[in-house]
Symmetry: C2
Subunit: 356 residues, 2 copies
Amino acid sequence: MENHKDSLKELEQIAKNAEKKTKIKVSPKDVEDIISAVKTTGNFWQIVNFSQKPIPVVAETIRLLKKSGYIDFENENIKVLEKFEKKFDYIPKFMSELICPECQGRGINIKAIGIYEEFFEIQKNRPKPIQEYDQGNITPDSTIARVSMMRLRGDIAKKKIIVLGDDDLVGIALALTELPEEVVVLDIDKRLIDFTNEVAQSKGLKLKAEVFDLRKPLPREFNRRFDVFVTDPPEAKKAFETFIQKSIWCLKGVGSVGYIGMTLIDSSLYKWSELQKIILSSGAVITDIIRDFNKYENWDYHQNTLAWKIAPVKSPANTIWYVSVMVRIQIVRKPVAKNTLMKDKDIYIDTESTTT
Amino acid sequence: MENHKDSLKELEQIAKNAEKKTKIKVSPKDVEDIISAVKTTGNFWQIVNFSQKPIPVVAETIRLLKKSGYIDFENENIKVLEKFEKKFDYIPKFMSELICPECQGRGINIKAIGIYEEFFEIQKNRPKPIQEYDQGNITPDSTIARVSMMRLRGDIAKKKIIVLGDDDLVGIALALTELPEEVVVLDIDKRLIDFTNEVAQSKGLKLKAEVFDLRKPLPREFNRRFDVFVTDPPEAKKAFETFIQKSIWCLKGVGSVGYIGMTLIDSSLYKWSELQKIILSSGAVITDIIRDFNKYENWDYHQNTLAWKIAPVKSPANTIWYVSVMVRIQIVRKPVAKNTLMKDKDIYIDTESTTT
């Protein structure tokens, strides 16, 4: 009992120090979640995966744990020392067995929609993610899960859908179902757009892709045209707001829907609360928040990112570790929707995003 | 195409009329979801289940569809007529195959926590739900799923947990894991409290249950005492606010957690957006929204509820149809927490809640 109080105090102290250093809000619960992950794996990237905390916070917490003699580094992994076990004995391991092994926690059966095999073959030839465009793509399973969720919620059949940024080939998967009225894909990367249009042509899909820099205002004719948008917005507060309001600007109005990929690896829960306020004050309600939904394939330029640089120990990233949350929103009142230019300083003025 | 525009107009008209009659916000998308459900099943309660709309809205929409000659009633079920198929041919059936059959859409593996069999035996002797207390309990699977989710998010071990209202025996299931520091159950029903305390005593569980009318202010000594609360609050806006703020008043502060059961059967999405604003402005963030998580066993007094009364056709309710959404919140800033009396008029002044 005394021991427990002691370790709670220690958590508070670490949280305070980590917050001071990273300038990101850190609670004792955040530190506890990181310690639980450290008990479960020695691999830095898997600690990020299990704890779902911003990378600077995980990195700084681990540095502080090492400084206090709780852990050590060994062969690019983290090794727990005896002092650690004593102090934090009450914190249990992360129990990944509690995640449904069949659907990997998404709650979605990806087999029923009937496009899995075809999509899997198509995506083998996709262009590789490049750092210039902050790219990274989710696994084919994740793309099909996203489209299956959209079908489950009645958001595909006869719908006009816009995909704002499409590293994940969601546009192709949607069109393969042959259900949408219209699918429009915008992306800055000409390679992705060419690939999407080639697939559309060879398969005879209802799908149009165009090169477009999404920082710019969208074409006038997109205003109130679509039933559904799909996007993975930047997570710096001001950039998120501009991006979401532009996406909502494309929607017809009450009853229209948005699918938003959001992370807890490039955002703190504190920032999330700000981003959720933006969603609600834009006239939408949040209908679903499904954690660990989108699983990212590891990308070639990982060792050139800020995330790699600040990692206190350079563990290999050879299994999936970066995941994102599937958030579905629906418009419930006259939306606040602006189609404005996003300034670069709004995107990058954020201490929490490190993987781009 | 012309046909599609026509049916969109029809959806708009039905939405408008249903909204006028029920005084609940109804969008064309809501009507579309109900029509999709009508295509899938003739049973009124399953239509509510698949469409996830407030019962008065489903009832009125079905009345309007009948009035316009789209559907008819046959043997207490709903039968789709030819005119319906023509007008709404583009709306596909609800595809329940897309829900993971293993975890029923929860994303949780209920087998891993290791208390399933024991809990299943215990709960067989639970007191039956009675209307006086608006009771209804979720399936044992759902209770175990809830506790498993809590374990997955690190919200049980060494935590002080308060369960505000416990038809679902969450307190017993939590204590069976032997992980919490403290579990306190409050409920107005003496039968439930006696049952819980008897189980606690015979099994030697760390679990205290007390008879308490949750409309009243909570005991002073609960202020900032708990790490986690679990509750299924009333969903009338004012009552929800009082209830959530009281629950948060029990929490220690930043990093503390709440599990809230919410429905789309006694609430519209429009009201949900108001309830979500209450959560955010109380100092919390929403970390999870998992639909169809809690599945309710059918209750004996169903035929005495307002829901039964307003059902346009008295279909049998012999399979699970009432489900609720699992919402997890976490405190991210100094909370707004008040421990106030809830007035009865605040609970019942709501057109959307009909199942109590």
